[in-house]
Symmetry: D2
Subunit: 179 residues, 4 copies
């Protein structure tokens, strides 16, 4: 415990402690579906990240990450957008912080349809217009821009991790895309 003395609020846990907490508490996450919009605000393209799972399988996912201790939702959202899309993406965070969905990920299948084997996560999910240049970093192998039709096509839909295809449908529905 003495290690913590000089820094009582470090804002993060050791890997072990975090693993332990993930077995006991829901984690707060933010999730962002990056979109390109035309001047009228209609969504023209959706940005999907392609990542490799621990088992080496390629899956589609969104910008996503944990909210740290004492971090605001907005700061976490901007931090993960910059981390995943690069510093020049120019995401436009909306003035209203109400998410299009509250996504509930559970370690085993549930009514929510969303799963995350590592943890129980409550993710606030946003549709975020980006206007700049995207340069995926970190563990993302690729960022693809697809039309809403393409993104919801059966082939792509089958590639989403943890049930996120349904979440994408909800995201586009919130933008009046009902197909």
């Amino acid at each position: 415990m003495s290690v913590r003395t000089p820094d009582p609020y470090p804002g993060w846990l050791s890997e072990d402690e975090l693993s332990e907490a993930r077995q006991r508490l829901p984690m707060v996450y933010v999730e962002a579906v990056p979109v390109r919009c035309d001047p009228l605000g209609y969504v023209t393209e959706v940005g999907l990240l392609l990542q490799a799972t621990a088992e080496g399988k390629m899956v589609r996912t969104f910008v996503s990450g944990r909210v740290m201790y004492r971090e605001t939702i907005r700061a976490a959202l901007l931090r993960h957008l910059e981390k995943d899309l690069g510093p020049m993406a120019l995401p436009q965070l909306p003035p209203a912080l109400v998410p299009f969905a509250v996504a509930e990920y559970f370690p085993s299948p549930s009514q929510s349809g969303l799963t995350d084997e590592r943890q129980h996560a409550v993710a606030l999910a946003y549709l975020i217009p980006v206007t700049g240049e995207c340069d995926p970093r970190q563990d993302a192998l690729e960022l693809s821009w697809l039309t809403p039709e393409e993104a919801l096509s059966p082939d792509i839909y089958a590639e989403f991790a943890g049930g996120r295809g349904d979440l994408l449908r909800q995201a586009l529905a919130s933008a009046s895309w009902g197909r």
Copy 2:
């Protein structure tokens, strides 16, 4: 014009005047998707009306109707719910009047995907839980209660009038139903 003297704000137009206005102005509508929910608020059933069009075709539709002059949105919503579902339906109007979608119906195909050959209508669309007994009246031949899966199945989807299948998908997506 003298007819109007004793009643300068009658709240409605003659059939001719209304037909004329429908060629010139967007009409304000409310639209309600009646749902049955379990105690946790999960949608278990969707109420769809079956109506005959002027051409005798059977189509699926929602509770829907015009907002009258000097009528509030809430009063119009309750009036049309009672008209279409009967007086014992016990609809639960939400404290927040923000619709799940603003549905734009145009007389010819457009970006919105919704059409109404009679008019340009701007419909505020709500998901309304009903807890009582429904007894469809007027021109509705039938009210069917379907599970969300059934309501979005290709067969049923093909029966919706004016593109409302997409609107139903948006309605269910607002209730976290993304499939």
Copy 3:
């Protein structure tokens, strides 16, 4: 009536016809509260228009206007933003068209608290970030940028037309501003 033959859907009415319709039908409006946001999306300033009423009184108002026949909500919103803020305002229309409020203006006082002596208007109200240079045109004498605190101060609040002070409070509340 023959005048209409070559143009059956002109998209507007004569002044007389519009006056008449305003006594009989609710009009569809869009209303926009322009805001400046910081990179995290927090509202830093609210843009208020100062206009002279027919009686010469100076009142605060928002970007506002009618939706024309066959015009989409988005097109109307952009048209009125350009008309009131100039062509370089660069408004960011959101991907979701759900308004922060449905504002109901009646010709006489009502439960909604909003009045418009000319008509019954149903206005879809949006909070719209603008990132460019604003140059108010038309009948607006001035565009003032105020902090949220200033905009809701009693002095400014008393200057709003038709009860729009309450609507501004709702707009800022939707951006988590509760004071």
Copy 4:
């Protein structure tokens, strides 16, 4: 660690572990403002709980509580509503799970205006109509039903804990109450 063997996912932590986690991770909360509505859905009364703080001060608060490990938002909401309002309150959980606000409580003053000295909590805040009989239990000394005007009056406003007066204003603004 052996203690955990028979129950690897107990859904809660010991008091010590929870205290520790509260210094390191944001906690997921739900918060509910109970309201009574008239048949049109207009809010007529707001239910406020009166509680004693550890220091013996009386403060106003809402229904509030933690989301447990593997518990859905809806289950947590219903559990806390029953705990605080009694089993006969008949709360009407909405089909859409999107909160009126995401309330961010921090252990020290911040931009959010909301504080909770025990922890960093991210609370999904809902306006929940209740139609039955309320019987406050547990640590609530009293449940008062006030009109929106009364609930936002300066005297009552000053009695809210942790900045919740602002949150109440946001709650009522989401129900078109802008005053």
